[in-house]
């Protein structure tokens, strides 16, 4: 059939015939298109009921339809995207949940493992016992038996007078105080003295350094700190909880969050109470300091500088108290747990904690420093009151022949002190089941009476020398100690600042020309890295210290600060890497 047969423009037809023709056409060519008399395009449309009609196909309508379709399509695409995002988020949540579950699984496995281990131990210990409580009794009995056996193994005996009897076959030479002529003043400690230190001693004696901090306040602080320190050692979880949960920074450290969660039930009423009491004592101490300041200066004399110095004095006293408290906590842990961790030992300069903790070197510097802030009387107040007369201990000129209340001369008393310390250390060694090394113990006693105090002396010397120079106090240490509230403030030291010109006693001697710095020092961020590259990582720190000693012999001021991870050295008051290496690297040829 040709297309002409269905051309509707071939001439008029009756309605019926047109309808029949249209139906046939619609059946055979359902998408037929024509142009009507008005030039419009029409499409043949057949409906479900069999009717048909020619419908104009306007381009505009088609466009609108397309627009609608596009909108619908966009909505669909958008919906798909949202759905994909949801899916991604859900995937992420699922991943996180899986990780959490895995972590918990690991914890459960660990706990199961621990439980299995405990069960196995209980089974082993039970050995025929009917109940776990009986097994516990067996464990207790074994512990007691071990302790008794251990006690019996002690080979040293200590008399009530503090005399130590060594095991047979071992010679033990105890430290003895230097011989002293009756009526003659002697130096008990033979470390190097310099002008600054002599001036400090004179200033200390002149000022008296009598404690002006209320005895009641000082005593309360001491007692509260001791109580709190004891409890922190007993309630380790509570102390950790206080550290972690009272810090907005620590709980953000990923690994610590887990630990913090683990000890959620950290709160310990006794510990909390002790902490509050200690903090109350700290507040009282500050109020007492303020009272002292106010007593020294009339209201009209108190300006911004006065307020600033008052704040610094409080801050200094607070920080010193904190440091003392941490020492006490460490000592308590040492006593109560029988040992202190390696890391703690590292951070407290190794060795005997008790001996080390008994000497608070920075405390004296606090007194001196506060003296610089506002006059010797304030320094004296803090040195005498807050830090418990440590300054007096720093003044090493002792009257060896003067008799004390116990009838002993000072030399004898100090000898006894050292023997007592030896005895205590010995007892500690055994208590802690550490290897008792006689040489170490003797060395400890000797160090206590020499090197450590010399170290304090050196620390003081550096602090005083640098501080006096930095403060522009050219009149010497005595003037520094007697400075007024108007002492010139100084800027914080800058990392790249050149070495400050220090007072004469710490000015290094000129370095011999043959000693030249290592040209490679500019390549290193820290002195340790340079030492590790130059001498090998093992012993790098020791080598640096040897170099420091060589530099010190040449007149440089070497100061080691911090401990362990945070140990750093300053040379002639400057600690930036280049300045330090510029000096230390000159001495490599002398190693």
């Amino acid at each position: 059939m040709s297309s002409e047969e269905f051309h509707l423009d071939k001439g008029p037809k009756s309605d019926t015939s047109a309808e029949i023709e249209g139906n046939e056409l619609a059946d055979k060519q359902p998408r037929r298109v024509r142009t009507n008399e008005e030039g419009q395009t029409e499409r043949l449309v057949k409906y479900a009921n069999g009717d048909f009609e020619w419908v104009p196909t306007a381009e505009r309508e088609t466009s609108q339809e397309l627009d609608v379709h596009s909108e619908v399509l966009e909505e669909v695409v958008s919906a798909i995207e949202v759905s994909e995002k949801d899916n991604n988020r859900q995937d992420q949540e699922i991943t996180e949940l899986r990780q959490t579950l895995e972590a918990r699984d690991e914890e459960v496995l660990e706990l199961r493992s621990e439980l299995d281990e405990l069960r196995r131990m209980v089974e082993e210990l039970r050995g025929g016992a009917a109940t776990e409580s009986e097994a516990e009794d067996i464990v207790d009995a074994e512990i007691i038996e071990d302790e008794e056996a251990h006690d019996n193994e002690r080979v040293f005996t200590v008399s009530s007078a503090g005399e130590v009897t060594p095991p047979a076959g071992k010679e033990v030479e105890l430290y003895s105080a230097p011989a002293a002529e009756v009526g003659k003043e002697v130096e008990l400690y033979t470390g190097p003295k310099d002008e600054a230190e002599t001036a400090l001693e004179a200033a200390a004696e002149e000022e008296g350094f009598s404690p002006e901090l209320s005895a009641e306040v000082a005593e309360a602080l001491k007692d509260n700190a001791a109580d709190y320190a004891k409890l922190t050692a007993k309630a380790r979880k509570g102390y950790l909880g206080q550290l972690l949960h009272n810090s907005k920074y620590l709980v953000k450290v990923p690994g610590l969050k887990k630990l913090a969660d683990k000890i959620n039930d950290w709160s310990d009423q006794k510990l909390d109470t002790a902490r509050e009491s200690y903090q109350g004592a700290l507040a009282d101490m500050q109020r007492d300091i303020q009272d002292q300041f106010e007593a020294q200066y009339a209201e009209e004399e108190r300006g911004d500088e006065y307020e600033n110095n008052l704040r610094l004095a409080k801050q200094l006293a607070l920080m010193q108290s904190h440091a003392d408290l941490e020492d006490a906590i460490t000592a308590e842990r040492h006593e109560q747990s029988g040992k202190a961790g390696w890391l703690t030992k590292q951070l407290t300069n190794k060795g005997s904690l008790k001996g080390k903790l008994a000497i608070a070197g920075t405390a004296a510097a606090v007194g001196v420093g506060v003296g610089l802030l506002g006059g010797g009387k304030w320094g004296g107040m803090l040195a005498g009151g807050t830090v418990g007369g440590v300054m007096a201990g720093q003044v090493n000129r002792r009257r060896a022949n003067s008799e004390g209340e116990d009838g002993r001369t000072l030399a004898e008393s100090q000898s006894k002190e050292d023997r007592d310390a030896f005895t205590q250390e010995l007892a500690d060694k055994y208590e802690n089941e550490e290897e008792a090394n006689v040489e170490d113990l003797i060395k400890y006693v000797q160090e206590r009476t020499a090197s450590e105090r010399q170290g304090n002396r050196s620390r003081l010397k550096t602090a005083i020398g640098v501080g006096a120079a930095a403060g522009g106090l050219s009149g010497g240490i005595v003037e520094a100690m007697q400075g007024t509230v108007g002492a010139a403030p100084v800027e914080a030291p800058q990392p790249e600042a050149p070495a400050p010109e220090v007072v004469p006693e710490v000015v290094p001697e000129p370095v011999a020309e043959v000693l030249v710095p290592d040209p490679s020092i500019g390549n290193y961020d820290y002195p340790w890295n340079w030492a590790a590259d130059t001498f090998g990582a093992e012993g790098a720190t020791d080598t640096l210290k040897q170099l420091g000693e060589l530099a010190a012999q040449d007149g440089h001021s070497i100061q080691w600060n911090g401990d362990g991870l945070n140990e750093w050295v300053s040379v002639d008051g400057v600690s930036d890497t280049q300045s330090v290496l510029d000096i230390l690297s000159r001495y490599t040829t002398k190693l």
């Binding site: 610590l256 507040a283 100084v490 030291p493 400050p500």
Partner: protein, 96 residues
């Protein structure tokens, strides 16, 4: 934080240098001991064994290196830094 940043955070920039030195030394001492408490608490029994073995070997540097190697599941230096910031907050908040 550097020493200078510690001083700045404590509001002690105008203090004499030796006071600043004492403050920094005290702060680092307190923070060091607290960090030690936390780090040693976080060691698992197995890690504790390794820790002790390394200590017994007598090479302090090896122990330090091991502690720095993220064994506790947290960056030791990050723990130190967070402890330091907490301590500075503590000091500043306790001044009456």
């Amino acid at each position: 934080m550097t020493d200078e940043q510690i001083i700045e955070a404590l509001g002690a920039a105008s203090a004499p240098a030796q006071l600043q030195e004492v403050m920094v030394a005290n702060a680092r001492k307190v923070v060091g001991l607290r960090t030690a408490t936390i780090v040693e608490e976080m060691l698992t029994p197995e890690q504790q064994q390794i820790y002790e073995q390394l200590q017994n070997a007598g090479n302090d540097q090896a122990v330090w290196d091991w502690l720095r190697s993220d064994v506790i599941g947290a960056d030791t230096s990050e723990v130190y830094e967070a402890t330091l910031r907490s301590y500075i907050d503590e000091v500043n908040s306790q001044i009456v």
